[in-house]
């Protein structure tokens, strides 16, 4: 049975303008592979409502699970929650359970729950809240879309909350061999190996270090014994690796 699929939607001008380097994509990719969910696509869109709504709809239809990051804070450019509501035709307002979470957290610090802070309690109708152990303001889940914060510490905590609730698959195993030969020399034997082990996937990732060309050959699959067999063959074909 094929593994469940996932897509990620990164929302934020700060990445598209080159100001910030995204850190959440790499984290999510690594977490999903461990539980056998295949991350099939990532999109990064700007803080633009029509772009966000269109991407949410397209990804939600095409993949089993969608995880978004960014745009759920208290400022005027945080429009993700409203876009999710629009994408699914749901109403959105400050919700009592989310308001209570914020009221308790701010109350404990003797801080007023202002109108701006209340923005973070705007949750689409029928959504389930995602716990935020770092800074209280919750994420939420609507249908197969999990809406998380962009701040890496909060994003990672939310991923940790949600992942155990998702149906995983067979974790993808991988082994790699570093071959110190240009990719063009390994291409032909590698294609033959890929044909022989058609249940595995063979990737070749070239690099260049101090003028020397090489490639990391990565073999991926769900059956550890087959992977071992392929690696033995690979080492025979490239004995100098």
């Amino acid at each position: 049975m094929p593994n469940p699929t996932a897509a990620m939607l990164v929302i934020g001008d700060e990445i598209l303008s080159g100001r910030t380097r995204d850190a959440n994509m790499h984290h999510l990719a690594q977490e999903l592979v461990k539980v056998g969910i295949d991350l099939k696509e990532v999109r990064v869109v700007s803080d633009d409502a029509p772009a966000i709504v269109a991407a949410v709809r397209a990804l939600s239809e095409a993949f089993d699970t969608v995880i978004t990051s960014g745009g759920i804070g208290p400022t005027h450019d945080d429009i993700t929650a409203d876009c999710i509501a629009e994408a699914f035709g749901r109403s959105i307002d400050v919700r009592d359970d989310a308001r209570q979470l914020l009221a308790d957290a701010y109350g404990a610090r003797g801080v007023e729950l202002t109108e701006a802070r209340l923005r973070m309690a705007r949750i689409p109708d029928g959504a389930a809240l995602i716990d935020n152990p770092v800074s209280t303001a919750p994420g939420f889940t609507v249908e197969n879309v999990h809406v998380m914060a962009g701040v890496p510490a909060v994003f990672q905590a939310m991923v940790a909350s949600v992942l155990p609730t998702l149906t995983g698959g067979t974790p993808l195993l991988s082994q790699s061999l570093r071959v110190m030969r240009p990719e063009s020399e390994i291409a032909s034997p590698l294609r033959d190996l890929a044909a022989e082990f058609s249940d595995l996937s063979f990737g070749s990732y070239p690099f260049q270090t101090d003028g020397v060309y090489g490639a990391n050959v990565v073999v991926r699959g769900q059956d550890g014994a087959r992977l071992d067999a392929a690696m033995v063959k690979l080492s025979e074909v490239f004995p100098d690796a």
Copy 2:
């Protein structure tokens, strides 16, 4: 007049599987902002022909310029050139000019131009070649899609070749202020400022350092004098920044 728009398509299982952290997106974003081209969307898809073809078509239609990275090497998993040809309904084969480039480069090193290496001379009909000063194998341009290598050094060289040929816009200027207050406290005055300077965009990017909450407020726009005026106001509103 609005700036020209661009999208990026990153092709590669190695990023979606969490093995590699993408470096090209950040580089391209920084280069485009300098010449006034607005990077509107980035998609990352796996080494899967239907996914690549669909993404190329969608992005090529929606944006002025598309830049792809990855999948143009000599190995069997390098399928980008064939997918581009399919996306635009063009034929593809080893092309004489590309073959000559490779023959010269390998010949100079006394290395045989094997069938695998010749794969890198497969260029869609009518495409223009993009120079590769690092490792010879060229990228190419079909209509508004510029196809580049995934290896960062080569990608960067190809971006440098292509950027001067694109029509730029007014470079987006930005200034930022580091405010050591939680985002929820600055949200309300920031919204008022954004309304007053409606020709500028105001972004707020929260962070947390040693338990202290703060936010980088970034003001972006094309008019330097307006930007300066907004920063003066911003400093008045947040004198403790």
